[in-house]
C-alpha cells in the first residue's frame, strides 16, 4: 500500500519564491534561475511514492536537495508548491494543529548530528515525543524503555547523552524516533557522522530492526554504498531534480543517464551483488532414488556430482560420481554415501563474503534459504564474470 505520495513537490528559497515557478515549468535549470532571478531552487518538481514498510533511500551529493526534500515531507521546510499525500491526505494543506498531530503520531525523525537534548537523560530523550503528547508518566516510561531495548540501549537510560559514544547517541536518536510508534521514520544522513565500522554495524542493525518493527523508512544519504546496502528503492537526486528511482539493481545496471552512470561506475559490485544474483539452477536427485539413477543422471547432464534434495527441495547433501559408483558396488543407498558437510550460503549473502568460502573448496556453493530449501548453486566462473562486467547479469540472471 502506498503510504506517501509526492506530487510536483517544489521548494524555492528566497522571497517572492513563487515567481520562479513558471520558470521551472519552462524548463529553466537551477543554475539559470540562480543567476537570472537570484532564487535558489531546493527541490524541483519531485514526484514519487513510498510503499508501506519499505526503506526508501534518497541519495545525492551535498547541495542536491535531498535534505530539503525530506524536510518537505514533514514540513520542517514549507513547500513552495506541490503535494505530499500521507494515506491520501495532503500534508501541505494541514493547519498548525493538524500538522502537529501528524508529526506526533505519524512521522518520526532521526538527525545527522543526533540533535539529542543535552539537559535530558537518555530515557527522557526517548520519552520526548510521548511527553509532549501528554502520555502519562508510567506509560511513556514503559514505551521509551521498550524503544531503548529495541536499539540495544537497555541499562543506559539514566546516562546523559554526552556520556555516550557517537554510535550510541544515534541509537538514542533512533529510540526517540521510534518511541511514539510512528508510521514513517525519516532518517536524515543518520549514520553519516559515525565511524565507518560503527556505521556498517548500524546499517546492519537498522535492517534487522526494520525486519522486526516494519516501519516505512525514508533514508537520506550521500553514500552510494549505504544506499545500495539498505535501500529497497533508491531515488537519485541532482540539482533538486530526482534523476532516477529504482531498486539498487536497476540503478546499477540500467543507469537512467550519464550522471547516474558516473555516480555508480566506481561501485564495488562485490558489495552489492548477492549469491541470488549469480546462482545457477543445480542438478538434483531425490534421496530415495538409487545410485544407478544418480550415475545415469550425471552422465546425461555431463556433471560429476548431484545435489540431493527431497520433494520440498530441502537440501540433504551432495553425491559425487565416485560415491555413487562405490554405493553401487557395496549395495548402499544415496543417503549412506552422500556428503553432508557441503558449503552453503543464504541467497542474500554478498559476493564479497562468498570469495573466502569459494577459495577454500573445490565444490560449488549451495544457495539455501532459511528453511534449508535449495535455491541454486554458485560456481566460481559465474562469480568472476559477474564482477568482471555486466554480461552475466544482463543474460537474465537477475531476480
Amino acid at each position: 500500500m502506498t503510504i506517501i505520495e509526492v506530487k510536483q513537490l517544489t521548494k524555492i528559497f528566497g522571497s517572492e519564491a513563487r515567481q520562479a515557478l513558471p520558470l521551472l515549468d519552462q524548463g529553466w535549470s537551477k543554475e539559470k534561475i540562480a543567476q537570472e532571478v537570484k532564487l535558489t531552487v531546493g527541490v524541483n518538481k519531485a514526484e514519487f511514492s513510498i510503499e508501506e514498510g519499505e526503506i526508501f533511500v534518497i541519495m545525492g551529493l551535498s547541495g542536491s536537495g535531498k535534505s530539503t526534500l525530506v524536510r518537505l515531507l514533514n514540513r520542517l521546510i514549507e513547500p513552495t508548491a506541490g503535494q505530499v499525500l500521507f494515506k491520501g491526505k495532503d500534508v501541505v494543506k494541514m493547519n498548525a494543529e493538524q500538522l502537529r498531530q501528524f508529526r506526533r503520531k505519524n512521522i518520526g525523525m532521526v538527525f545527522q548530528k543526533f540533535a539529542l537534548f543535552p539537559h535530558r537523560s537518555v530515557l527522557s530523550n526517548a520519552e520526548y515525543g510521548l511527553e509532549i503528547q501528554g502520555v502519562e508518566k508510567k506509560k511513556r516510561k514503559e514505551l521509551a524503555m521498550k524503544a531503548l531495548e529495541l536499539v540495544g540501549l537497555g541499562g543506559w537510560e539514566n546516562h546523559r547523552p554526552d556520556q555516550l559514544s557517537g554510535g550510541m547517541q544515534q541509537r538514542v536518536g533512533l529510540a526517540r524516533g521510534l518511541a511514539n510508534d510512528p508510521d514513517i521514520l525519516l532518517m536524515d544522513e543518520a549514520f553519516s557522522a559515525l565511524d565507518p565500522l560503527i556505521r556498517k554495524d548500524m546499517q546492519q542493525e537498522l535492517l534487522e530492526l526494520q525486519a522486526r518493527v516494519k516501519k516505512t523508512i525514508v533514508f537520506i544519504t550521500h553514500d552510494l554504498d549505504e544506499a545500495l546496502r539498505i535501500g529497497d528503492r533508491i531515488a537519485l537526486m541532482k540539482d533538486g531534480v530526482i534523476v532516477q528511482i529504482g531498486t539498487p539493481e536497476e540503478i546499477l545496471i540500467q543507469p537512467a543517464n550519464k550522471y547516474v552512470e558516473r555516480f555508480v561506475e566506481d561501485v564495488d559490485l562485490s558489495k552489492v551483488l548477492t549469491a541470488a544474483h549469480v546462482m545457477i539452477p543445480p542438478e538434483m536427485i531425490r534421496p530415495e532414488r538409487g545410485p544407478r539413477v544418480a550415475l545415469q543422471l550425471m552422465r546425461d547432464n555431463g556433471v560429476s556430482s548431484l545435489y540431493v534434495a527431497d520433494k520440498e527441495m530441502k537440501l540433504h547433501g551432495l553425491i559425487t560420481a565416485d560415491d555413487a559408483a562405490q554405493a553401487l558396488k557395496q549395495d548402499q543407498t544415496i543417503l549412506d554415501v552422500m556428503r553432508r558437510d557441503i558449503p552453503r550460503v543464504h541467497p542474500d549473502a554478498l559476493l564479497n563474503d562468498l570469495f573466502e568460502m569459494m577459495s577454500e573448496t573445490h565444490l560449488p556453493v549451495a544457495v539455501v534459504d532459511e528453511s534449508n530449501r535449495l535455491r541454486g548453486i554458485v560456481i566460481k566462473g559465474a562469480v568472476l564474470s559477474a564482477l568482471a562486467g555486466n554480461a552475466v547479469l544482463e543474460g537474465g540472471m537477475l531476480r
Binding site: N74, M109, A115, F117, Y128, G129
Partner: protein
C-alpha cells in the same frame, strides 16, 4: 542662520505633567505594590535577630559554595553587624531584592519575546541602549514626580538601570540554542510553549542566570544614587558621609555594600552549578 532650538526638554516635561495628571491612580497602585514589597522584605529581614539571620545565610552559603563561601559570609556579615550597620544594610538589601525580583519578572518574559521575534528585538534593543547609557540621575527626576520621594522611585530607577542584562542575555541564551535541537523539537510536534519550557529555557538557563547576576549587581550599584531621592539604608549613610566629608563613616558604609555585593554575586553565580554537575 539661527535655527530655533527644538523644545525637547519642555516637551519631556509636558509629557511628565500629562502622565502625572491622567495616570495618577495608576502610579499610586504601582507605588503601593512596590512600597509593600520593600517593606515586606525589610520586615522579613529584620524579623529575626541579626545573629540568627547570619547563621541562616551562612548555612545557605555553605550549601551553595562550601566552606570558603560560608567563611566569607560569616566574617563579612558579623563585621557589618559589629559596625552597627545591620539595620541600614537590610534596608538597602530589601531595595535591591525588590528591584531585582521585579527586573527578573519583567525582564525574562521580555527577553523571551525578543528571542521569538526579530521585530520585538529590534524595537527593544535601542530602548535598552538608552536605559543603560542615560545617566541614572536623569530618570530619578520623573520617577520622583510620579512616585514622590522615598524608596519607591529608587526601586523604579534601579529596575530601569538594572533590567537590560536580564533581557539581553535571556534573548541571547534562547537564540543560542542550536537550530538542530529546535528542529528536532519541532519534528516531534512540540507546541511553541512546550519548545520554550522543555528545550529553550533549560538550555539557555546558564546564560539567563548570568544576566540575572548582572541585574542584581547593577541594582546594588544604585543604592547610593537612590538615597539621593530619599531611600533609606546603607546607601544613604554613604551619601551623608560624602556630603559631610567623613571618610571613616563613608568607608564603613562602603565596606558593607561591598560585602553584600560579593555575597550576592557568588551566591547567584554558583546557585545553578550543583544541579549541572
Amino acid at each position: 542662520m539661527n535655527l530655533p532650538k527644538i523644545p525637547l526638554g519642555s516637551g519631556i516635561e509636558w509629557i511628565e505633567n500629562w502622565l502625572t495628571t491622567y495616570f495618577g491612580t495608576f502610579f499610586d497602585i504601582i507605588h503601593a505594590i512596590i512600597g509593600g514589597m520593600v517593606n515586606g522584605i525589610e520586615a522579613a529581614l529584620l524579623f529575626l535577630p541579626a545573629l540568627i539571620l547570619i547563621a541562616l545565610i551562612t548555612a545557605l552559603a555553605y550549601w551553595i559554595g562550601k566552606w570558603r563561601m560560608a567563611l566569607f559570609a560569616v566574617i563579612g556579615l558579623l563585621l557589618i553587624d559589629n559596625l552597627g550597620l545591620w539595620g541600614p544594610t537590610m534596608q538597602s538589601l530589601a531595595l535591591v531584592l525588590t528591584a531585582s525580583i521585579l527586573a527578573v519578572l519583567i525582564g525574562v518574559p521580555v527577553g523571551i519575546l525578543c528571542a521569538q521575534s526579530n521585530g520585538v528585538k529590534n524595537t527593544v534593543t535601542p530602548i535598552l541602549d538608552f536605559m543603560q547609557t542615560m545617566p541614572a540621575f536623569v530618570y530619578l527626576l520623573p520617577a520622583v514626580s510620579f512616585f514622590s520621594l522615598g524608596v519607591v522611585p529608587g526601586v523604579i530607577a534601579s529596575i530601569i538601570f538594572a533590567i537590560p542584562p536580564t533581557i539581553r542575555l535571556t534573548n541571547l541564551g534562547i537564540r543560542q540554542v542550536s537550530a538542530e535541537l529546535v528542529e528536532a523539537a519541532d519534528a516531534f510536534g512540540s507546541t511553541p510553549t512546550q519548545k520554550l519550557i522543555k528545550l529553550q529555557l533549560p538550555i539557555a538557563m546558564p546564560t539567563i542566570m548570568a544576566g540575572i547576576n548582572q541585574t542584581i549587581m547593577l541594582s546594588l550599584s544604585m543604592v547610593v544614587i537612590s538615597s539621593m531621592i530619599g531611600a533609606q539604608g546603607v546607601g544613604a549613610l554613604v551619601y551623608r558621609a560624602v556630603s559631610q566629608a567623613k571618610t571613616g563613616a563613608g568607608f564603613e558604609a562602603g565596606i558593607a555594600i561591598v560585602i553584600i555585593a560579593i555575597l550576592l554575586d557568588r551566591l547567584t553565580q554558583n546557585a545553578l552549578k550543583p544541579k549541572q554537575r
